[in-house]
């Protein structure tokens, strides 16, 4: 055994395998130091945000990282503006409904394209791929016109869909090309024998989808849920276009409302306090479900924005 290993020791170090992972060469040490420096740079904005949010007005433009006096009341002041309670509620409603809608619709549609044979399937699937190439802006105007004509039957006091949550939630129930594509790939990897066996036992397609396919698709569904949550929570353009009544605003719109709330120049300490709190749910979800975020990026290729 030892004889077989020794010659390896004398050759150039192999980069990828059979080496103890943590052995530091000068090159690796340099890489590690660079990475440490870069990650500090990436984290500094967060600390600066936290630090600013705890500063007094007089100290706002001082370079101190730790404020002389920690002004925790900035957070209370920040939330005394506007209708924060309602904006939280609205954001949560829109986010939850659109995540549920996305999961339901994309998993149903992907099941059809991945596991069922029907005439026209391949043609329609290429149509889905084609819509992925379509820039979202092209649909902005006609969708607004459409929603301003669809009747809302007095929902949230509006006659049409504009100024209601409908444009921000209902489309989620019709699927999303990117997620359908991702889920279809995932579902095709599940052995067909599983559903064949269930079919012979007389299970309906709906039952196979729910009892067999969905449990096996959990990692992909988790990634989709997380991306949709993030997208809906941070969506700015959608609410900006469709929500006019301040009582229907989301946190993102509210935050903007807040910029000049203190009269004239932005009160950065209050603004940073409010911003931090609005960001917090997404940061917490990231820290809890990091793995799914990372997997999701690798799976969907949703790297650049």
């Amino acid at each position: 055994m030892a004889i077989a290993v020794t010659p390896r020791e004398n050759t150039q170090p192999m980069r990828h395998e059979l080496r103890p992972r943590l052995r530091l060469t000068p090159g690796k040490l340099l890489a590690w130091l660079t990475l440490v420096t870069l990650s500090i740079l990436f984290l500094i904005p967060f600390f600066w945000m936290l630090s600013t949010s705890l500063k007094d007005f007089n100290e706002l433009f001082s370079p101190n990282w730790i404020p002389e006096r920690l002004m925790w009341e900035n957070y209370r002041t920040a939330f005394s503006f506007g209708m924060w309670g309602r904006w939280w509620r609205n954001t949560i409603i829109i986010t939850v409904v659109s995540v549920l809608g996305t999961l339901l619709s994309t998993s149903l549609v992907a099941y059809s394209f991945a596991r069922l044979r029907w005439p026209g399937r391949d043609l329609l699937f290429s149509l889905i791929l084609a819509t992925m190439m379509l820039p979202g802006v092209v649909l902005l105007i006609p969708q607004f016109i459409l929603f301003s004509h669809l009747p809302a039957f007095g929902f949230q006091g509006s006659r049409n869909w504009v100024n209601t949550f409908l444009p921000l939630t209902v489309p989620a129930f019709t699927g999303n090309a990117f997620y359908i594509f991702l889920l279809r790939q995932f579902m095709r990897g599940i052995p067909m024998e599983l559903s064949e066996a269930a079919r012979i036992d007389g299970a309906s397609e709906l039952r196979i989808w729910w009892m067999i396919i969905l449990p096996l698709t959990k990692p992909a569904l988790a990634a989709i849920a997380i991306f949709q949550f993030q997208g809906a929570w941070e969506d700015f353009m959608g609410p900006l276009i469709y929500l006019q009544d301040e009582r229907l605003y989301t946190l993102q719109l509210g935050l903007r409302q807040f910029e000049f709330a203190a009269g004239g120049a932005p009160a950065w300490n209050w603004l940073m306090a409010a911003s931090l709190v609005v960001m917090l749910p997404v940061i917490v979800v990231f820290l809890l479900f990091q793995r799914f975020f990372i997997e999701g990026v690798t799976l969907t290729g949703m790297g650049g924005r």
Binding site: T174, G175, L255, M279
Partner: protein
């Protein structure tokens, strides 16, 4: 006994036209949500938008057919060219910087140094923050006496008035954009992990330096990933909106100091929903703008597909 069982199973599952029919019906029903969505929210609106682009239309009145007037006005519109210039500026400056920086960091991460998972998480963390709050944070960091300029001052460099000086607004956006390259880094990292070890081992036997290995193995093998990132990056950059809208604020009608942040979609928004033009809500004009943007993106993407044959290496090509 055995004969009876055999017969029963065949009579229940064999009628061979029914399962296929049932499966087809189920297929259509399961795909229905997307199909309805496609017809109502995508195909229908697209056709209508094409029609709208030939009309004068402000939602309250009926559309009035004016032929190519919107397109003609667009090509005589000074702001259209400013918006195009600003947008192309971002594409041409930001994309190469993002590509180089994220490949460089991905290469570092791929060296399998201790704490790799931690670094990956740190670089990706900003990517989960895309909303108004993140833009405010950067508006504050890039303020004339903000954090960045103070850091530059330690090195004796007088920092510019980023979002105030028209010459520095777009570079400011590029600096800010660097905080969001984590997603790109992860994708390049995934690409790097997919390169077969044998290639490097063979090169090592030939005594190739690590520089040569990077240049002749890593980059060609990574080129499909780079291509994908460039294509999606350009499409994304063409649609910058939220950052520009929040940074320019409500005080300006068109787009930041000296219109230096008037990007294509921001201008489109201002025409459709903002205060630009007579009476606002110029849906016809905005629809025409959207179609021109669509054509621009289409042409650029096709051009890239054509160019890709020269530099993107697919292993299956057998080249």
């Amino acid at each position: 006994m055995a004969q009876v069982v055999e017969r029963r199973t065949t009579t229940i599952t064999r009628p061979f036209w029914r399962p296929a029919m049932r499966e087809a019906l189920a297929g259509w029903l399961f795909a229905l949500p997307w199909l309805i969505g496609f017809l109502v929210f995508t195909a229908g609106p697209m056709l209508f938008s094409l029609y709208t682009s030939f009309t004068r239309y402000n939602i309250t009145t009926t559309p009035q057919w004016i032929g190519l007037q919107n397109y003609q006005n667009l090509f005589e519109d000074r702001f259209f060219y400013i918006a195009l210039y600003n947008t192309f500026w971002m594409v041409l400056v930001k994309i190469p910087i993002v590509v180089v920086a994220s490949i460089a960091i991905a290469l570092l991460l791929n060296m399998e140094v201790p704490g790799g998972k931690f670094f990956r998480a740190v670089f990706y963390l900003p990517n989960v923050l895309a909303g108004v709050a993140a833009v405010f944070l950067w508006k504050w960091i890039l303020a004339p006496n903000g954090l960045l300029n103070r850091a530059l001052a330690w090195f004796g460099i007088p920092g510019p008035a980023w979002f105030v000086d028209p010459a520095w607004t777009k570079p400011g956006l590029v600096v800010m954009g660097m905080w969001w390259i984590g997603g790109n880094i992860l994708i390049y990292l995934a690409g790097l992990k997919g390169i077969p070890h044998q290639l490097y081992e063979a090169a090592e036997i030939d005594g190739a330096s690590s520089w040569r290995k990077t240049w002749h193995i890593t980059l060609p093998m990574l080129s499909p990933t780079i291509f994908f990132q460039v294509v999606t990056g350009i499409i994304g950059t063409f649609q910058i909106f939220t950052t520009a809208y929040i940074i320019t604020g409500d005080q300006s009608v068109t787009g930041g100091p000296g219109n230096s942040l008037l990007f294509y979609v921001l201008y489109l928004y201002n025409r459709a929903f903002g205060r630009v033009g007579v009476g606002g809500f110029q849906m016809g004009y905005a629809a025409a703008m959207a179609w021109v943007l669509f054509l621009i993106i289409l042409v650029i993407t096709l051009l890239q597909l054509w160019l890709a044959r020269r530099w993107v290496y697919y292993e299956t090509d057998g080249r």
